[in-house]
Symmetry: C2
Subunit: 345 residues, 2 copies
């Protein structure tokens, strides 16, 4: 461990696709825990597509990071100091958004949850048992209202939300079709449990490829990408289809610019489809129950994630950029320190 | 009255905007009523935007008219022959789709409803108490889930659905903003009861004009047009906005061609908006109750329609084209014969 607290601060808003120099690594101090706070030492930090929207002056659903601020993000850490009665040094905790890209964070006790390694290994708490799992669960079950027998198409299918969503769809009795960006990821999707997967970059006619994979049309579409994949699926909707807009990673390189292309007003009307913008934080009050259900699936080995783990605080922006350019395979995390040895309790 | 049965038959599918020569007037025979049928003599025929979608080889939500067929459409007529116990000669009946552009129609008794002139004058039965009223009612109340205090924007606000929708929104405690295509129609909207109306053709910056009219954002958008009006409203959505796609009259001239333009994936996601393709026939089982409620409003003088009535079977395609090119003011109908004198019962 180094002395001090290395932190990635935003230097400038990216224009289009972010580059590493949009952030700078600086040395800060290790904070002190105030009332009802803990200080945690980072073990894993999260990088995720939603962060692209938070480093833009554009209107978003939540406040953004300003140049000069420490970059936001979830993380798993070990409590090193506690001023909150629920936590003591040595506890492992997770926070969805509040850790930041840094080695030490002061965190409100209300913003963290206890990690239970006996349920699942640490990375799962930033994945199936964290934002990704909640996103996949509520997008499918609440916004998408999946029912057994539905044909469910998921874009960015090998991504962090996608790999979980495909498995929840299967566990719910649906047919799960993934759309992804390479043959390697097609194999990954099938390995994860998708019934079929399409490499959109290899298809000259993606509309026809989706039609072949979904001969009765698409009942539920979990859209993590926008762009050309969205276009192809919108031309294959079944009557009363539900389209859940979860993300727009294909727009990461043209953030803030208008997205121009074919629109599907008539198709939406004719299918009487519902298109729903989705944000996981709208489902806050139901997360405890959903997390419990996910934990049961994970503990029983019925739901597994693959991870792509970079090492070292210095590689955090690189890991984020790998993600934005589809180079990762599995949920992308950054490991900042070794996992603590299991304590005898 | 003429002998025989003058009928408008489709000659060819329009390319883009329909022209009068897509139909031809021919002389047919007056049909005979088979079991459970009546024959009615047309008094009013309906022309409506949905008909554009029915004269196209493109996929639609319902079967289309083929070249050679009598053009479809609703109508009000007087029963001249009955082979159905519910109806007798002299009764006035209305049908939503089945009359066709002709002087006489044989109609299944299950496809017609009795007109009650004591509740409202005849044209209302093809308007507030017909498809237009049901469309406005279910689009707002079921698909749009309006609640008191909502800001409701309605496009084609002076149109047949729009004028009713504005009034239902007001009767439901909402703020109603219309978007329409001329200063004359702005005045028409305000006269009908809209709080405010925008002439989109007069606005250099329609996004800003909608923002001025809706300072807290748009909660519910009843979209009858698609196109540039859709674009402007989508940039003014309030959180959890509901967008109901009812029609796409701005696309009437480019039917079957791709609709290319700015898309609002991010805005939809950030607002967590719901966009819903709407078709009134999905609400069939609730129509009796809705029609009852509408009839009470109409009878009490709380809901009024304005009509734009062409005369003579020979002017039916012209009236339809007036509608597609926004030249009508009020619900467009075609009067085929004089209304019968009120009977003493």
């Amino acid at each position: 461990m180094q002395e001090g607290n290395r932190q990635w601060r935003l230097v400038s808003y990216p224009e289009g696709m972010p580059v590493e120099t949009n952030w700078a690594l600086s040395d800060g101090v290790i904070p002190e825990a105030r009332a009802n706070e803990i200080v945690a030492r980072a073990i894993y930090l999260d990088v995720a597509p939603y962060m692209r929207g938070r480093i833009s002056p554009q209107r978003n659903y939540a406040a953004g990071v300003k140049p000069g601020d420490v970059m936001l993000g979830g993380g798993i850490g070990e409590v090193v100091q506690s001023n909150a009665k629920q936590f003591k040094p040595g506890d492992i905790v997770v926070t969805d958004f509040s850790f930041g890209w840094q080695q030490y964070a002061a965190l409100k006790s209300s913003a963290v949850r206890r990690v239970e390694p006996e349920i699942a290994s640490l990375p799962y708490w930033l994945d199936a048992l964290g934002l990704n799992g909640m996103t996949a669960y509520f997008a499918l079950i609440e916004a998408g209202r999946i029912k057994p027998g539905d044909t469910v198409v998921i874009s960015a299918a090998a991504g962090s939300v996608g790999q979980i969503a495909g498995q929840i769809a299967k566990l719910s009795g649906c047919r799960a079709i993934g759309i992804t960006s390479s043959q390697e990821k097609v194999a990954f999707c099938k390995d994860v449990g998708y019934d079929d997967a399409i490499n959109y970059r290899a298809e000259a006619d993606l509309v026809a490829a989706v039609a072949r994979a979904c001969p009765r049309g698409v009942d539920v579409f979990i859209d993590n990408t926008a762009g050309v994949i969205h276009e192809a699926v919108m031309q294959n909707l079944a009557t009363h289809a539900r389209v859940v807009l979860v993300g727009s990673i294909s727009l990461a390189g043209k953030f803030g610019q208008p997205d121009v292309g074919p629109r599907f007003h008539r198709q939406t009307l004719i299918a009487r489809a519902t298109i729903k913008g989705f944000l996981v934080s709208d489902y806050q009050q139901d997360q405890a129950e959903a997390r419990q259900r996910m934990a049961e699936w994970v503990k029983a080995g019925m739901l597994k994630s693959k991870f792509d783990i970079a090492k070292g605080i210095e590689n955090t922006p690189k890991a984020f950029l790998r993600l934005l350019t589809s180079q990762n395979l599995g949920k992308q995390l950054v490991q900042i320190a070794d996992e603590p040895k299991a304590r005898s309790t």
